[in-house]
């Protein structure tokens, strides 16, 4: 089949609606979509309260999340979306160009979060917004819109008030007809509890600065990790700047490492330990114990339960488009220059800590006493450079004791000692201490 040489052939590269509605939504979890909507609310709150800093820069701003089997809703009292913003770009899929000029330290950067979240959640979208001066409503039936043949993709705005609106400032998004798999998760009691835990942790910095979030009627509390600090120990802090991004790396001891590091030792708090990555106050990686944050690379060993109690935080602050986060805001780009620079410091501090946990084995009792005596200080209180400091002590020889006992008796003794889901090793250790305390001391 010969073709005429003068004829140019084209391969179509246009986007399809299905790509945004059905495909892009597969790359993100329901909880991350909800956080995307919450990010918009935070940005709206930031815009409303202005560039002011200070410890309560979000005071007076709120977001209310509610859901049941048949709807999902988020309402904020932030700056709202203006008619011009809506007409030009707020509802476009992606910004015309990644906006590197803006200096705003916002969370929204890619122009995809809100739309992706709406598509992920359900079929009927009702969005109402007001800047305090102007207001509009956007109603969207996603299934109908998907079938529309209009070559220009657009959503009709209704109830448009261009000046002097009486609608209160803020934005509300209500999704009805949630997709079956979404409804299924929204009604799982584990989901609400998990979402609460995640928001309290990942928005801890933001909540602690006055942003109020309520989830199905429960006001959420900021969860800010804490370092132990005393004359014997203190977290390390290092500040750096790469281009427009301010980097702050902090690491230290948050809790005494466990006595029992055997394989079967349960540690319900284990997900708290490890590295946290924070971009413009939003936690994007939490409790990481992988190569992403340096574990198992170069001089840093791979994660082991003996490091439980280690806490590291790396904060990036700067223009949204300059930060190392990915569009889901649930991960970072490990090749990003700012992140590469931070990683060097992170590994240095991690290695100091892991060495310490080996050293302390010979004097675990003294070490633990010093660690537990140190008061807890919220990580947000540390900003000036300082060296990571860990307790020192002379070495003692230790020997491993091993013995066999019937499972039943081990369980019964664990219960009698009030131990929570203990491993056999922990029961053995406590039994030894119990005897030592009474017969030797």
């Amino acid at each position: 089949m010969a073709t005429k040489p003068e004829e140019t052939h084209y391969a179509i590269a246009q986007a399809s609606k299905a790509f945004f509605i059905d495909m892009l939504t597969r790359d993100i979890t329901l909880e991350d979509c909800i956080l995307d909507l919450l990010d918009n609310a935070v940005d709206g709150a930031k815009k409303r309260s202005g560039p002011s800093s200070g410890s309560k820069k979000y005071a007076g701003t709120t977001a209310t999340i509610e859901f049941a089997n048949d709807y999902f809703q988020i309402v904020d009292n932030g700056s709202g979306i203006s008619i011009a913003e809506a007409e030009k770009y707020a509802f476009r899929f992606g910004h015309e160009e990644l906006d590197k000029k803006t200096t705003a330290h916002v969370i929204g950067a890619y122009g995809i979060g809100m739309k992706r979240a709406m598509f992920k959640l359900g079929n009927l979208v009702h969005l109402a917004t007001s800047t305090g001066k102007e207001s509009f409503v956007l109603n969207l039936n996603v299934a109908h819109w998907k079938k529309e043949k209009d070559p220009v993709w657009r959503f009709p705005l209704t109830k448009v008030v261009a000046a002097g609106t009486t609608v209160e400032r803020g934005t509300s998004i209500r999704i009805r007809e949630p997709h079956p798999e979404i409804s299924e998760r929204l009604t799982n009691p584990r989901f609400e509890n998990m979402l609460r835990r995640v928001i309290q942790r990942d928005y801890g910095y933001i909540l602690s600065q006055g942003f109020e979030v309520s989830l199905n009627g429960v006001k959420l509390k900021a969860e800010i990790p804490e370092f132990r600090q005393s004359d014997d120990l203190a977290p390390g802090v290092a500040n750096e700047v790469v281009r427009k991004v301010a980097i702050r790396v902090k690491a230290g001891l948050a809790e005494a490492p466990p006595d029992d590091t055997s394989a079967e030792a349960g540690s319900p708090k284990a997900d708290r330990w490890g590295w946290y990555v924070v971009c413009n106050d939003r936690v994007v990686v939490s409790g990481d114990k992988s190569g992403l944050t340096g574990w198992g690379t170069d001089e840093v060993p791979s994660w082991h339960p003996q490091y439980n109690g280690f806490l590291g935080i790396v904060e990036f602050n700067g223009p949204a488009a300059e930060l190392p986060w990915l569009t889901t805001k649930r991960n970072v780009d490990p090749t990003h220059p700012a992140y590469v620079r931070a990683l060097v410091k992170m590994k240095e501090m991690t290695a100091l800590f892991t060495t310490y946990t080996n050293r302390r084995k010979g004097s675990a009792k003294v070490a633990k006493a010093k660690e537990k005596a140190a008061p807890k200080v919220p990580v947000t209180q540390f900003s000036l450079n300082q060296q990571l400091k860990l307790p020192s002590f002379e070495d003692h020889k230790v020997t491993v004791v091993e013995f066999r006992k019937p499972d039943k008796e081990i369980k019964a003794l664990g219960r009698a000692l009030g131990l929570v889901l203990p491993s056999a090793s922990e029961v053995g250790m406590r039994a030894f201490e119990y005897a030592y305390e009474r017969e030797v001391k």
């Binding site: 009604t187 006595d259 319900p268 009030g418």
Partner: protein, 321 residues
């Protein structure tokens, strides 16, 4: 051995437990209009008395019954449990619930299972559930009873540090503990909290089976014959069965049921046999009799409880052989 409610008492004379069994039996006989209950199998912990077995056989005509008995496994009294079987159709399986449940729940036969523990919430949430839930299918019923004394939350330690009540609960029931739990670990509130956690576990873990099945709560009882106890129970239903279930309007019919995990307290009035017979003769009472017109003094709450449960309150008497 559990420290909270190992009461070696005759299980047949616990009045609140007795009322609870009858309330459950009553509900199931009503459910028989839609679900062929008499062809079901009943799996329970019959102990030496088999009280629930006798009741469900008489009221519901169930003929396939399995009792799981751990004491037999220990080899203490293998003959005694079989000797005490009040009905020929009861089969005693020897072993822990964890060991016996897979056998007891095998096959496609519809089941009513009652895991009637006297241990704490931690044991109720334990491995038994992970062998029971996968065996549940459309139209099955499951009940779980457990001790609900808040003492089970105290003096917990891990890595030499005190573990708070809520932390402990979150360890044994990850992401199933409600936000207001810290206000509900009191002696008075813990039964309600434990019911909610257990119900959450059943709802969540049923969804996580990935079947077209939902756990629908029916019963949430709090009672106290000695130690405070709870029983939560419900049905595993497909979408089609949920519609049939709804058509029974069960929750309008019986005020002792709970469509969420709000507990119904089986607090029975202490009345003498003479008083009971007198009050019975005034029933059904609509409107309820005025306190002042009764022939003896009575608290309003006691009278209300009597009116609510009179059809189910047992009479105990002394027999001389």
């Amino acid at each position: 051995m559990d420290e909270y409610s190992f009461e070696k008492i005759d299980y047949s004379i616990r009045p609140a437990k007795c009322v609870e069994r009858r309330l459950i039996g009553q509900t199931l006989s009503y459910l028989a209009a839609v679900f062929p209950i008499k062809n079901y199998r009943y799996v329970g912990f019959g102990s030496l008395w088999f009280v629930d077995f006798v009741l469900f056989h008489r009221w519901l005509q169930i003929e396939k019954m399995i009792s799981i008995e751990q004491a037999a496994e220990i080899g203490q009294m293998p003959k005694r449990f079989n000797f005490n079987k009040p009905l020929r159709c009861i089969k005693v399986l020897a072993g822990t619930a964890r060991q016996c449940l897979p056998t007891a729940l095998r096959g496609k036969q519809k089941t009513i299972a009652w895991l009637d523990y006297d241990g704490n919430l931690e044991s109720a949430l334990s491995g038994d559930l992970s062998v029971t839930l996968p065996a549940m299918s459309d139209g099955n019923f499951l009940l779980i009873s457990t001790n609900a004394h808040n003492g089970q939350l105290k003096n917990k330690k891990r890595n030499d540090e005190a573990v708070s009540e809520v932390e402990y609960l979150e360890t044994i029931a990850p992401d199933l503990v409600p936000a207001n739990a810290s206000e509900r670990v009191t002696k008075k509130e813990f039964p309600g909290l434990a019911s909610e956690i257990l119900t959450n576990a059943l709802i969540a873990r049923t969804k996580e089976l990935g079947k077209d099945l939902e756990y629908v709560p029916i019963w949430t009882f709090v009672y106290q014959d000695g130690a405070p106890m709870i029983t939560v129970g419900g049905a595993f239903l497909s979408a089609a069965s949920r519609a049939q279930f709804a058509s029974l309007r069960l929750f309008e019919r019986f005020d002792f049921l709970s469509s969420d995990s709000t507990p119904v307290n089986i607090a029975l009035p202490v009345v003498t046999l003479r008083e009971k017979l007198y009050l019975d003769a005034l029933m059904p009472a609509n409107p309820p009799p005025a306190l002042g017109r009764l022939k003896f003094e009575m608290e309003q709450t006691s009278l209300d409880a009597f009116i609510r449960f009179y059809n189910y309150i047992p009479t105990f008497g002394e027999l001389a052989w």
